[in-house]
Amino acid sequence: MKTLAVFSGKGGTGKTTLVACFAHLAGRAVAVDCDVDAANLGLLLPGDDVHREPFLAGRKATINSTSCRACGACAEACRFDAIAWTGKDWVVDPMACEGCGVCSLVCPKPAVIRYHDNLAGHWMRRRSGSVSLVHAALGVAQDNSGKLVAKVRQEASLWADREGIDLVLVDGPPGIGCPVHAAMGQLDRILVVTEPTPSGLHDLERMLRLAQHFGVSASVSINKWDLAPKLTRIIEEACRTWGVPLAGRIPFDPHVPRLLAAGRLPLEPPVDQDTTAAIEQCWQRFSEGDSAIPNMPAEEPWTEQPL
């Protein structure tokens, strides 16, 4: 089984659109949406969920006010400011509580503090034509996104195994922190999607540094490249210096957002043939062409460079 993933560092560069197109072009694949707190891949891979499961992660504390002596030791020890005095009782703010258990360690009376399982969200499986989708919805104001990402990654691989599907396509979350790390494990290669803006270049560089850190092989695609051809050339030159192959450059096409708004993929008219061909070529090079672990120069200290 091959697992390929699309990341970008910067949000809104076109990760989800490309993953949906790639899944369509591959024919048979399990697509997995790892942007669990703002999941959009399901909008482009329509269908009914055939399976939906609650995702329990972590726990939350509650204080039994009848047996509590109100000494306040728990509130003092809590690092997350999750315990507050109402004027009459100490109460736990479930949104701030991380379930660490420090409060019950310092509480002089056992059984005052109890824990209950935390429903962190749901994960789902769906069939959309020949493509299977594993996606998730993190609960409102939940802090377990990394764990849920690991869960959907695991379920996607299991599903592919069970169905004899040899391709898993990962739609990565933005950024370079915890959810990205959770999405980055056990990958064959990644495509880093960028756009020709200073933010796009800056975020691409940090994303490639992370790929180097984890020893993951990467190639790059520049989306909407014709909006700034000069900056596109600078990005291409930078990629050459870093030893990262280019999988493609995709032009800006005003028909793309309109088709996406209608829930359709930009692989058909009125999208320009050149745009469609560029996406197809990008998929071919990403899945079969070169990729390399980035070789980034040492990061300059932040103080010494103009910010």
Binding site: D35, V102, V140, G177, C178, P254, W302
Partner: protein, 287 residues
């Protein structure tokens, strides 16, 4: 007053609005721009300044300092599986540790102490009258949220009573929450597409769970449908501006420049945000 720019979806224009607004505000009084998108901070690319004071930010990690009997209590109390008790020592996994202190409290030998573990930096600079604070996570570090909290906390402490503009990370999970938790007003930046709508709804739910007031700005308002506008109306969320796709804004952005001097439309949106904030302050709803 703390004003946070947020959005569920990435790439909707948070940084564009936050940097330009901060720059405009600094022309009429003390204002601070806070880059809380610590995983991918971009504000400095538009608010260019030459020098900055740098502060390293660390979280606390347990470390063995004393004799370990291998009792395993630390491992047992750790809710995050971040510490492994071996025969006579412990192994700590920094990316899993939440710095809660449970292992240190529970160790019967008092053999664990907390030591700082650096995760990133806060830079302080100024551009004319505009104060800038930016958080930047070290590449390879997983825990962005403590750094988001640190940079927002520092800005609100050092610039209390002034206008503080927070540029938040995308999404609706812990790091995004940390950037809006203290906000007096959250400006949600969205776009009129099914993606924009889906993520806007999630961001609104997050803000309501945190009991924050929200207003919205619709970016690229001419490249989509009416659903976002209808949703905002139904939910009673004030829309402070519609910003159509405009080449002068896109070009300025692509060149790493502020767009406020080049686009009257952008200026109108920013003026509306300022007027809304002024009204709130006048009515005493905001400090």
């Amino acid at each position: 007053m703390i004003l946070s720019f947020a959005s569920g979806k990435g790439g909707t224009g948070k940084t564009l609005l936050a940097t330009n607004l901060a720059w405009m505000l600094s022309k009429r009084g003390p204002a601070t721009y806070v880059d809380a998108d610590v995983e991918e901070p971009n504000g400095h690319l538009f608010l260019k300044h030459k020098t900055a004071r740098l502060e390293r930010v660390a979280v606390a990690l347990p470390k063995l300092q004393g004799s370990c009997t291998g009792c395993g209590v630390c491992q047992k109390v750790c809710a995050f599986h971040a510490i492994l008790a071996l025969k006579d020592r412990v192994m700590v996994f920094p990316e899993l540790c939440h710095s809660c202190g449970a292992c240190v409290i529970a160790c019967p030998e008092r053999a664990l102490v907390e030591t700082p573990h650096e995760i990133g930096s806060i830079s302080r600079a100024h551009l004319g009258d505009l104060q800038l604070l930016s958080g930047r996570l070290d590449v390879g570090q997983a825990r962005a949220t403590p750094l988001v909290e640190a940079v927002v906390e520092a800005a609100t402490r050092e610039h209390e009573g002034e206008l503080v503009i927070v540029d938040s990370p995308p999404g609706t999970s812990c790091s995004a929450m940390a950037a809006v938790r203290r906000a007096d007003l959250v400006v949600l930046v969205t776009e009129p597409t099914p993606f924009g709508l889906n993520d806007l709804k999630l961001a609104v739910e997050m803000c309501r769970a945190l009991k924050r007031d929200v207003v919205a700005v619709v970016n690229r308002s001419d490249l989509g449908d009416q659903e976002v506008a209808l949703y905002l109306e139904r939910e009673g969320i004030p829309t402070l501006g519609q910003l159509p796709f405009h080449r002068s804004i896109a070009t300025a952005y692509a060149q790493g420049q502020l767009a406020v001097g080049r686009s009257a439309k952008l200026r109108t949106v920013l003026d509306a945000i300022i007027a809304y904030c002024d009204d709130r302050t006048f009515e005493g709803r905001t400090p």
